[in-house]
């Protein structure tokens, strides 16, 4: 596009550029202006000197992270927990939204919706307390297992159970909340499509498969791409509430490691370096996902 063309476009569509201004200004001021702080990952942070004047140390903190004995274990655990959460946790709210959509009784539908989003509001400490209570040797789950003739085990002491418990409880806590976006997306589907399908004699299954699901695909794709951009970010709070030395080999993730190391000696620069490393990986993931999606579907972030 030539300069003249750009000029005419801006003049002709001036309103849309005026609308864009506050948004761009917001991002520049509140996100880009403080972003210089990321350089602290390459410096030795000294509070007295501040970020700008702290001395440079190059890749020291990154090396310190990569050289850790458990580095690969941390990467593996982080990715596995993320991928399991994605594989099981991502479709769950979509399925719930579709199932709710099939319910014809409005009263029942609303009740289930309202109840299913309740766990989202309960703090992690309490949720993890309930999980520990249920999975302990004398917990409810073991009561049931014993009743069925099984043997009691403490699930949170078994490394192989950590991921299922983590991912499963995550779904339980967030499935209702997550389904809200899809429920809203479903309302945007043109009802005429259903009417036409009904006249053609399409079964409900077919209507769901050929109308409802395609109708929410753009939303699914966007949320999926965003989700992939967070693959390296597994929060430490829930991990440290649930893990113990017996399950470290599957439970210890990057953030919990940084947290533990911070307890010994909190190093602002070190945690910034690890954060930056995660961000770069996330950027690669989200960019690839976006590219792929632009090729396959028509939806993409940019």
């Amino acid at each position: 596009m030539t300069r003249a063309q750009i000029k005419t476009d801006i003049i002709r569509n001036k309103y849309i550029y005026i609308m864009a201004l506050p948004v761009i200004a917001y991002y520049i001021i509140f996100h880009y202006m403080p972003m210089y702080g990321a350089i602290i990952a390459f410096k030795e942070f000294n509070p007295a000197l501040g970020i700008i004047r702290s001395p440079w140390v190059g890749f020291k903190h990154f090396k310190s992270f990569f050289e850790g004995v458990y580095f690969w274990r941390l990467i593996r655990n982080t990715l596995l927990i993320s991928i399991y959460s994605l594989v099981w946790g991502f479709p769950a709210p979509i399925i719930l939204a579709l199932l709710l959509n099939e319910v014809k009784n409005n009263y029942f539908k609303r009740t289930v919706q309202t109840i299913s989003y309740l766990p989202h509001f309960i703090s992690l400490v309490v949720v993890c307390g309930i999980i520990k209570d249920f999975t302990s040797t004398d917990g409810v789950i073991n009561d049931i297992i014993e009743l069925l003739g099984g043997e009691r085990t403490n699930f949170l002491m078994k490394p192989e159970w950590f991921r299922p418990i983590y991912v499963g409880s995550g779904i339980w806590q967030e499935v209702g909340w997550g389904s809200i976006i899809y429920l809203a997306a479903i309302t945007n589907i043109d009802p005429e499509l259903y009417e036409a399908a009904t006249i053609d004699g399409a079964s409900r299954w077919k209507q769901t498969w050929h109308i409802t699901l395609p109708g929410i695909v753009p939303t699914i794709v966007i949320l999926l791409i965003l989700r992939l951009g967070g693959l390296m970010s597994v929060g430490f709070e829930k991990i440290i509430l649930l893990y113990n030395s017996a399950t470290m080999e599957t439970a210890d993730v990057i953030s919990s490691y940084v947290y533990r190391r911070g307890l010994l000696d909190f190093d602002y620069s070190f945690s910034a370096a690890v954060g930056l490393f995660n961000s770069v990986i996330n950027l690669i993931l989200i960019t690839s996902a976006n590219k792929l999606s632009r090729k396959i579907s028509e939806t993409s972030l940019w």
Binding site: T187, N188, Y268, I286, L301
Partner: protein, 302 residues
């Protein structure tokens, strides 16, 4: 619309309703647990393991401890302000951004979207952010809780996806009638997007309702504190574990009745959840109203 149900559909309905009922029960349990625990006799609660299907004993001492704090009322009022004003600004800014990004032929649209995505992945950390907000003169003002978080990028993309699903024909015909972008956004797009607006309102409002971190960092004046920050204080103050040398039970055998008052601290973590969550739960029914399938576009076309 109503057609004869096939056998398969009937079976599906049964399974669906059973499944949703089980899910609802599973999701209801933690909230009930919290509710029951908040009214339970603290000593009984301390001894208790496993499922809790009713309050163990009954006391309101936990709530007394929570409401003893004189700042609770101002906290509620402040939160109400942050939720309303904050959500209003959020919706305005997010709508602008989503509209700009959902239009075709906006110059550098992809560049802007990419720039915005980057902010989800990279940040400069707390210190530069604090210095920025300080230099804007927002420290210790209500603005610090409203302006720096004016747009959630995640929500922006969700909204954009929804806007993009609205047929271009509407926009084009409006343009022919001489409408500018502001008119298109506020008169055509937004009224058609009630469902997603409702979801955004819910997400932003719940976000503001639950937020405490920025308040903690930026506010020093107690009269500006939101409810969550005050509840957090109460929670920390009453955390039995953190009171390391809690040898306060002089003459405990004599004052048997006082035990409940004393141990009521255990209940505080449950009471605060109830106190903090109940009001926001009432928002959902209002939001749900807009989830009626296909009303908007259908009515417009009809």
């Amino acid at each position: 619309m109503v057609t004869k149900k096939t056998v398969g559909e009937r079976i599906f309905n049964c399974i669906n309703i059973t499944f949703l009922t089980i899910l609802a029960i599973a999701c209801l349990y933690p909230m009930l647990y919290v509710l029951f625990a908040s009214f339970s006799d603290p000593i009984e609660l301390m001894k208790h393991r496993g499922l809790m299907l009713r309050p163990l004993g009954f006391t309101i001492e936990g709530y007394k401890l929570v409401f003893k704090n004189p700042s609770i009322t101002t906290g509620y009022l402040n939160t109400l302000f942050y939720v309303t004003a904050g959500t209003a600004i959020n919706l305005f800014m997010t709508s602008l951004g989503a509209y700009v990004l959902s239009r075709k032929n906006v110059l550098w649209k992809n560049a802007i979207a990419f720039m915005i995505t980057i902010t989800m992945l990279f940040s400069g950390g707390l210190i530069p952010f604090y210095l920025l907000v300080k230099s804007l003169g927002m420290v210790n003002t209500r603005w610090a809780l409203i302006i720096p978080g004016a747009i959630s990028t995640y929500n922006l993309f969700v909204m954009r996806t929804s806007f993009a699903s609205i047929p271009d024909s509407l926009e084009e015909s409006a343009k022919i009638d001489g409408a500018n972008d502001f008119i298109i956004l506020f008169r055509i797009i937004l009224p058609l997007s009630k469902a997603v607006l409702a979801v955004m309102t819910l997400f932003y409002a719940v976000g503001h309702w639950n937020a405490w971190f920025n308040a903690m960092i930026f506010l020093r004046k107690r009269e500006l504190f939101p409810l969550q920050l005050i509840l957090r204080e109460i929670l920390i103050a009453n955390d039995m574990q953190s009171m390391s040398n809690l040898e306060g039970l002089v003459d405990v055998s004599v004052q048997a009745n006082a035990d409940i008052v004393y141990f009521a601290r255990l209940l505080v973590q449950y009471c605060t959840i109830i106190v903090a969550t109940l009001p926001i739960l009432f928002l959902y029914p209002f939001v749900q109203k807009y989830f009626v399938k296909g009303v908007m576009i259908g009515s417009l076309k009809g």
